[in-house]
């Protein structure tokens, strides 16, 4: 068996960083990253970007050396992606914040509202309902992070956690402040409005969960395969007929429900900003599906049936 030689150069300075001899032809990029890590312990594999061309795309961990367009002495270029943090850590942190923060406003912890309201409870039952819905939503997300989702990337840049937490925690505080305020005004159409909103919210929470389960089942444990999702026996997944990313569709629905339930403008803002971001992601995902699968169902839209 002919062995390969691998040299790794810095993508910017072209300095020779590492030379590996006697590399197996069936070695993967992931294995090469581990070997590189041994000689440069500060660059753990998750923060290595290995490419064939200094300005090219990153190679995948699964790529096999002998299947790459390289000679028996392979030259790779390395770029440091910066400090990385695992997706699971980011999700757990960014979702625990809103859960805790909202409850602090709900229980009217001191220094938020006027002292005479400390530790009092709202007289409106919709405020209690809203707290239950909001808490349920984030507990669901935490549990999904721990037990349901299968991530294709292990890590993301460290600075993302500050950006993401600012977004989630900031909006949670802003919404919670008004909903739990002593001067909160309940919905104009009263019980009817709240009941309708609750039904929408619950429907979409179940829907969102159903999609997450369906997506999980597309992918065997530990794999990173990508397949086209299709409707299953669960009626909540039939929306796959019309939409590529129904998890986002249902998420939008949940927050629209919450907005109507609380009749609170900051919640409407949060819903809108989330919708914009999810639309961007949905369009990207939809484009990837179209690029990767020739037989991708043409009827599907990214996030809103027929519309967007």
């Amino acid at each position: 068996m002919k062995h390969y030689e691998v040299e790794i150069l810095d993508a910017k300075t072209k300095d020779k960083l590492c030379f590996l001899d006697k590399v197996e032809p069936n070695a993967t990029i992931g294995e090469i990253k581990s070997m590189f890590h041994k000689s440069h312990p500060q660059w753990y594999p998750a923060r290595q970007s290995i490419r064939l061309d200094p300005k090219g795309k990153s190679l995948k961990d699964e790529d096999v050396l002998q299947h790459l367009p390289v000679g028996t002495t392979a030259t790779f270029y390395f770029r440091d992606l910066g400090a990385q943090i695992s997706w699971v850590t980011v999700f757990l942190t960014e979702y625990t914040g809103p859960l805790v923060i909202y409850l602090m406003f709900y229980f009217r912890v001191p220094f938020i509202y006027a002292p005479k309201y400390d530790f009092t409870t709202s007289k409106h039952w919709v405020v209690h309902l809203a707290c239950m819905c909001h808490s349920f939503h984030y507990m669901k997300r935490l549990l999904e992070t721990l037990f349901v989702h299968r991530f294709s990337h292990g890590t993301m840049p460290l600075r993302n956690i500050f950006k993401n937490c600012t977004y989630y925690w900031g909006f949670a505080a802003w919404m919670a402040y008004y909903i739990n305020h002593p001067l909160y005004t309940p919905p104009i159409y009263g019980e009817q409005q709240i009941r309708l909103a609750l039904i929408i919210f619950l429907f979409c929470q179940i829907g969102n969960f159903s999609i997450h389960i369906a997506l999980r089942n597309l992918r065997p444990p530990g794999s990173k395969t990508r397949k086209i999702p299709y409707p299953t026996k669960n009626p909540f997944t039939w929306i796959f007929l019309l939409v590529s990313c129904p998890n986002y569709t249902y998420e939008l629905g949940s927050w629209l429900g919450f907005t109507v339930m609380t009749q609170c403008l900051p919640v409407a803002f949060f819903t809108m900003v989330g919708f914009i971001q999810m639309t961007v992601w949905a369009k990207g995902k939809h484009r990837s599906y179209l690029k990767e699968f020739r037989d991708y169902p043409p009827l599907r839209s990214p996030i809103l049936p027929f519309v967007l």
Partner: protein, 228 residues
């Protein structure tokens, strides 16, 4: 909601002036030339207006009124250059126009003068650049005058916002209080204070960006003699 994959893209620091690499088409060039000529002319009008009003009155007081209309027009017209100009539009409409009492402040004159000189130089720079005939003097002025004009403008802007604060608090201008059916509130007074605080990180960024640009653009004057 799952977060996006690694990597964010940084928005480019934007000047409207086209880079030498590709260059705009003929129609785009014509549009840009006309736009920049008009903007240069507009800011010249403001400058001339200021000088004439000063000569007529013999004092700096009330000079704002002599140029109020063209200032509003030309500053708002510049909405096309979103970034740096957002703060200017804000200053013009949301502060100076909205709070009558600050219009007679000297700080207003301070930032109007700074903006005027900056913009005349900047738009002539763009105009000449587009016509590929940039006098070195203009390029030099653009990347040197800012040393004084930026701090001058920022000082004027901050002092003006500061002067507006007591009136905003007293009248509750642009503010919304609880209770209301949208369960929303907004305190313009606090917002203005936040705006003032935001100058602390933002102004040094802009300032050092210009210093870096200056080194890049003028750094070669030791190597080459003045080029037309």
């Amino acid at each position: 909601m799952s977060a996006a994959a690694a990597g964010t893209s940084k928005a480019a620091h934007g000047d409207v002036a086209p880079k030498k690499r590709r260059g705009p088409g003929a129609l785009a060039t014509a549009y840009l030339v006309i736009y920049n000529v008009v903007m240069t002319a507009g800011w010249l009008v403001i400058a001339v207006g200021l000088v004439r009003a000063y000569l007529a009155r013999g004092s700096y007081h009330g000079l704002y009124y002599s140029i109020e209309k063209p200032l509003k027009f030309f500053q708002t017209g510049a909405m096309l250059e979103v970034r740096e100009v957002m703060s200017r539009v804000f200053l013009t409409w949301a502060v100076t126009h909205s709070v009558r009492e600050v219009q007679s402040e000297d700080s207003v004159l301070l930032f109007v003068t700074a903006w005027t000189v900056t913009e005349i130089i900047r738009y002539s720079f763009y105009t000449f650049s587009l016509l590929n005939h940039l006098p070195f003097l203009i390029k030099w002025a653009r990347y040197t005058f800012f040393f004084v004009l930026y701090p001058m403008g920022v000082t004027g802007e901050l002092l003006t916002i500061y002067a507006a604060l007591p009136y905003v608090q007293k009248t509750g201008l642009y503010s919304v209080t609880l209770p209301n059916k949208y369960n929303f509130s907004f305190d313009y007074h606090s917002f203005l204070i936040l705006v003032m605080i935001s100058y602390i990180p933002l102004f040094p960024q802009l300032y050092f960006h210009m210093i870096r640009q200056r080194k890049k653009v003028l750094g070669h004057i030791e190597d080459y003699s003045k080029v037309e």
